[in-house]
């Protein structure tokens, strides 16, 4: 029977055939899922940003950290540079596997993961030396909620990167077959973009 059979079976060796029969050309299903997930995440952060702007717009006094606290722009700038750099290294890894270069994929994914962990460590250090806590007024609340939830997303991305790295080390990716790398890279870029928005809003749009 032809490979383009109409048998509609969801898994196993018929997957490719079913994929053809169901017109699954174009973007792989996993990437569609990831893009939709990112769309929902955009709305999630949209909600959190809305709380920031609402608090900022309705705030009577001087907007900023409470008495005795400060925010650390130089450290935040360094962290921004680290995260933006990690987006580049991630993309180098994606381009490598698109050429079929699994060695470079491992290298760049490892570097990206390292930069991600460095960012998280830097953020935790930042939290310890700011001199104010989440319950010290509305600025503190939105500051820690937004940066904290972003940090949680970086952590989620780091888990994704760890899985990609482990699979790459076991030789599971090839030029044709590396949808997980593409999906994790999309997510990583998204997390990076959210941070850039956060950085500009919290540290510059005062």
């Amino acid at each position: 029977m032809s490979a383009r059979t109409m048998q509609a079976h969801p898994s196993g060796e018929h997957e490719a055939a079913a994929a053809v029969a169901h017109g699954q050309s174009g973007m792989p299903m996993a990437l569609v899922g990831m893009l939709l997930f990112i769309a929902s995440e955009v709305m999630f952060f949209g909600g959190l940003f809305a709380t920031y702007f609402n608090a900022r717009a309705g705030f009577a006094g001087t907007w900023g950290p409470p008495e005795g606290g400060h925010i650390d722009l130089p450290l935040a700038a360094v962290l921004t540079a680290i995260l933006v750099a990690s987006s580049f290294t991630m993309q180098f890894g994606v381009w490598a596997i698109r050429r079929g270069d699994t060695g470079k994929l491992k290298l760049w994914t490892g570097i990206t993961l390292g930069l991600g962990i460095l960012f998280l460590a830097g953020q935790l250090y930042d939290y310890t030396e700011l001199g104010f806590g989440l319950s010290d007024g509305v600025f503190s609340t939105v500051f820690y909620t937004l940066t904290g939830f972003h940090g949680a997303h970086v952590f989620g991305g780091a888990i994704g990167l760890t899985v990609v790295l482990a699979r790459a080390l076991r030789g599971q990716f090839s030029r044709q077959n590396h949808v997980a790398v593409e999906a994790v890279s999309m997510y990583w870029h998204f997390v990076d973009v959210v941070w850039i928005a956060l950085f500009l809003i919290i540290y510059f749009l005062r």
Partner: protein, 568 residues
């Protein structure tokens, strides 16, 4: 080649019946799990509704105290909306959408199972407040500052927050699954403009869930931080803003209203043509109206907040009134479908006609409420309660029962008993109107919502008693439905593949369908592929090769007219 071993070694190992249902990733079984789970929560929340109506039947507090009354209406609203109406429609979507698309399953079957199993977990968490000193008691809208740790110190509100966040996450995952399925899993020939209307409504609904629910999640997290970690999002004493909660809640909450009604509109749009023996009048207009409602739904949230003084009334009033246009178009679609049709008044059709009439009343009171002068007068009165029940119950729940009677034969292979179904419908319909129509008058004469007691001198007693009688009639009407379901499962009339002579693809397979859904598919050249099949213009595709060839010829989407000739 290997296509003959479709179910490799089926039956070669044994799983218990229970384990099979607990671990299934088949969209049909998951759909049934959704529906059964939703009905269990429906009965729980319905029991709370009876408690509320019993308390309100006469002045004075007889059965509950003020606090338990607050918990009852909070749990009633939360559970009905988040754990009955939304998931039951998602359950029908789960079962029917892949079938209507000619697909073997949903795009992500395991995520599908996960998004179901989070529901009972979230629902039980919300209910478990009753075990820990009282459930949430601030209304299903959870307005700040009622939900602050100062006014609601109990753990019930925290459980409500966590449960809702879980249920919301589940529905976001479900929405991703629906959208991916609809865009990636359609059978050859099933272009977007040939999709059944039910699939279209599910697509728009899933998009609304995808974009609106995460905002509620953000709000719930903010509320949780306020309550547990000393945050001040909603606390004005330290620079927060309680109105912010209303913005966040209704930015989600108003799309939610369409999340609840659109699939029910889709169900009715499947049923009316079949039982009028006509195609749906104005398919494209209906599709565009559905998309228009979806788009508009993001620009009307503040009509819930007219009296806060914090929103620009003309804009939100105008946008809200605009929604009447696509909704009115749909009314004409439905009436045009009925017009000069050969109406068959079977139970699914009765519930669909019930939907049309009841939803019309809810729609009209909705347009009234869109006008700020009226809204200022009836804000937080029983007029709003009447309106929302005519839309949620008269609309969505009638749609749910229409869907249950319509697709039960497909799911079980047996047809529900018609006389019992008609008894159910008439008691239900009369009970519904007795319960909720008097609330319009109660609201206009000033009765506030969410009160457990009222003065005997207020003149509200008779109408409240009528409403309570109606609520118990609705409860009684469920009895013939349950008897019908059980008796049919035991010894029902076999349905055959296509008992209603429907024209969409779910009727092209056996009842119930095999695990892989279709052994073969008819050619798809319109939104009614089975019509061309049964009317002699088409032929069933016996050999898969045929279908692939036709797929190649059939590249022009929407070109329905020239198709039948090509086929013969």
């Amino acid at each position: 080649m290997a296509t003959t071993t479709l179910e490799p070694r089926a039956g070669s190992y044994h799983r218990s019946w229970v384990l099979d249902w607990l671990t299934t990733v088949d969209h049909k079984k998951i759909g049934i799990l959704y529906i059964v789970n939703s009905f269990l929560f429906f009965f729980a929340a319905g029991f709370l509704a009876l408690l509320i109506r019993s308390e309100l039947a006469v002045p004075g507090m007889q059965f509950l105290d003020q606090n338990t009354y607050n918990q009852a209406f909070t749990m009633h609203g939360t559970i009905m909306i988040f754990l009955f109406v939304v998931p039951v429609l998602a359950g029908f979507g789960n079962y029917i959408v892949p079938l209507q698309l000619g697909a073997p399953d949903m795009a992500f079957p395991r995520i599908n199972a996960l998004s179901f199993w989070l529901l009972p977990l979230g629902g039980l968490l919300i209910f478990s407040g009753y075990l820990f000193g009282g459930a949430a008691a601030e209304g299903w809208t959870g307005y700040a500052p009622l939900t602050s740790d100062r006014f609601a110190p109990g753990v019930g509100t925290d459980l409500w927050i966590i449960g809702l966040a879980l249920v919301g996450t589940a529905s976001i995952m479900g929405a991703i699954n629906f959208i991916a399925t609809i865009f990636k899993m359609r059978a050859p020939g099933m272009t977007l403009m040939r999709m059944p209307i039910f699939v279209w409504t599910i697509l728009v609904t899933a998009t609304l869930i995808l974009l609106a629910t995460p905002v509620l999640t953000a709000g719930l997290i903010a509320l949780f931080i306020d309550r547990n970690y000393g945050g001040s999002f909603f606390d004005p004493a330290v620079g927060g803003n309680p109105i912010l909660w209303q913005h966040i809640f209704w930015f989600f909450g108003h799309p939610e209203v369409y999340i609840v009604i659109l699939p029910a509109m889709g169900v009715v749009s499947e049923i009316l043509p079949v039982f009028s023996r006509k195609p749906l009048f104005g398919y494209k207009a209906f599709v565009f109206a559905t998309v228009a409602i979806g788009l508009l739904s993001f620009s009307v949230w503040a009509h819930h907040m007219f009296t806060t003084g914090a929103v620009f009334l003309p804009f939100f009033s105008f946008m809200t009134a605009l929604i009447a246009i696509p909704t009115g178009i749909k009314m004409f679609n439905w009436l045009g479908t009925l017009w000069r049709g050969k109406l068959i008044l079977a139970t699914p059709m009765l519930f669909s006609l019930g939907f049309l009439s009841m939803f019309l009343i809810g729609g009209i009171s909705g347009v009234m409420l869109a006008s700020p002068p009226i809204d200022f007068h009836v804000q937080d009165t029983y007029f709003v309660v009447a309106h929302l029940h005519y839309v949620f119950f008269g609309g969505s729940v009638f749609g749910v029962f229409a869907a249950a009677y319509y697709w039960f034969p497909k799911m079980t292979g047996r047809k529900l008993n018609e006389p019992l179904g008609k008894i159910h419908f008439w008691i239900h319909f009369i009970g519904f109107n007795l319960a909720f129509f008097p609330m319009h008058q109660l609201g206009l004469s000033g009765m506030p919502r969410r009160i457990g007691d009222y003065s005997p001198d207020a003149g509200w007693t008779i109408l409240n008693m009528v409403s309570t009688v109606g609520a118990f009639m609705i409860a009684v009407s469920i009895i013939p439905f349950l008897i019908n379901v059980v008796a049919t499962l035991i010894n029902g009339e076999p349905a055959g593949d296509n008992p209603w002579e429907g024209n969409t693809l779910e009727w092209a397979t056996t009842s119930p369908p095999p695990p892989h859904n279709f052994d073969r598919l008819p050619p798809i050249h319109s939104e009614r592929p089975l019509f061309f099949l049964t009317q002699g213009h088409g032929h069933a595709v016996e050999r898969p090769e045929d279908l692939v060839e036709e797929e190649i010829v059939d590249e022009k989407p929407g070109d329905i007219e020239r198709r039948p000739k090509d086929l013969v």
